[in-house]
Symmetry: C2
Subunit: 178 residues, 2 copies
DNA sequence: AACATGCGAACGAACGATCGTTCACCGTGC
DNA sequence: GCACGGTGAACGATCGTTCGTTCGCATGTT
């Protein structure tokens, strides 16, 4: 997909049509315009998130679910295409409310699932008492996404280490061992 | 500046020239092209960061410096123009290595300053023992920027509360009170 | 079975607008 | 007369979108 290679605004409608294997005119039979194509892609991101959402709803030990989530979501974010696409969508969301709506919905879905895992963990005593689980959840997600962005922009291909990130998150979320 | 209103790629060179109060032709006497204009803006961001850098080098109690920084940087990020500009630059950085270089330099400058504050705090005993101060610093910055992005995209103008964020950061960084 | 009709998916030429960039020209101060 | 900073018309390319046209196929009529 050429939104990844050239970016949304640098990609012409002819490119999109060619890559999709349809003619220019026919593209407009399926989409109301270029904007609708991006909207569709943003909507598809939702489905990409689905596995993570169901993973977070695992009913086993919260700490292990959290670690598994961090590991898996980190792998997801290590693919530059996911970072670039999020960036592209976020950029467009600034000026296009319908894109912003989808972007936030997707983010919130993940946020809610992670927050409720944290809440469960606190209740079950695996986690320290977190006054604001939603805030903590967004901290974790932001940290991962920020890390992924930096890794993507770096020319030297530094992969993101799971261990160091997980250590930090674990410390932030569990009671100190004493 | 119309990069904010329309985005970099949606802004024509004629717009840029008009806003800058120079003729179209003369713009090319000052800049080698449209790209160079964005590069210049990315470079200027560096100077915007300067006050925060010097603030972080304050030699007083680390915890207070940190709180002051969080407060001030949050105010900075509460202005949507700063979030949008960062997003715009980050998007372009994906495909333009020289922009990426500046973007990362700016980020790293802040990261280093914050990390060394944390290191000092750990040494002086105000902070808990943080194994990876740089990681912790990037966590703090990512959290703030993530929050700011969400606030910018939200239609309802929710301002970012300092108190709740500071509580979280303080907890993450200081020893528990017992 | 053969033919006529209508439907809608697919197409790409064409449109006007705008893009980033160049460059011949102009006025001004020496 | 010369040098030069400033100018905007002009250029070729490409943009997103429209729309007249084609054509395969299902349906209806003899």
């Amino acid at each position: 997909m050429s939104f990844l290679e050239k970016g949304y605004h640098q990609t012409g409608v002819r490119d999109i049509a060619k890559r999709a294997g349809v003619s220019l005119g026919n593209l407009y039979n399926h989409f109301s315009g270029k904007h609708a194509v991006l909207a569709e892609i943003a909507a598809l991101e939702r489905e990409e998130l689905q596995p993570f959402l169901s993973y977070l709803r695992n009913d086993v030990a919260p700490l292990e679910v959290l670690e598994g989530f961090v590991r898996n979501y980190l792998i997801h974010l290590s693919a530059p295409e996911n970072v670039i696409l999020s960036l592209e969508i976020a950029s467009e969301a600034v000026r296009k409310p319908d894109i912003a709506k989808m972007f936030l919905e997707n983010q919130n879905a993940l946020l809610d699932a992670l927050a409720s895992l944290l809440t469960r963990g606190v209740k079950e005593g695996c986690f320290r008492s977190l006054p604001d689980t939603r805030g903590a959840a967004s901290l974790i997600l932001d940290a991962m996404e920020g890390k992924a962005l930096r890794a993507t922009l770096q020319t030297d291909k530094t992969t993101i280490g799971h261990a160091e990130l997980w250590d930090f998150i674990k410390n932030a979320v569990t009671n100190p061992p004493d």
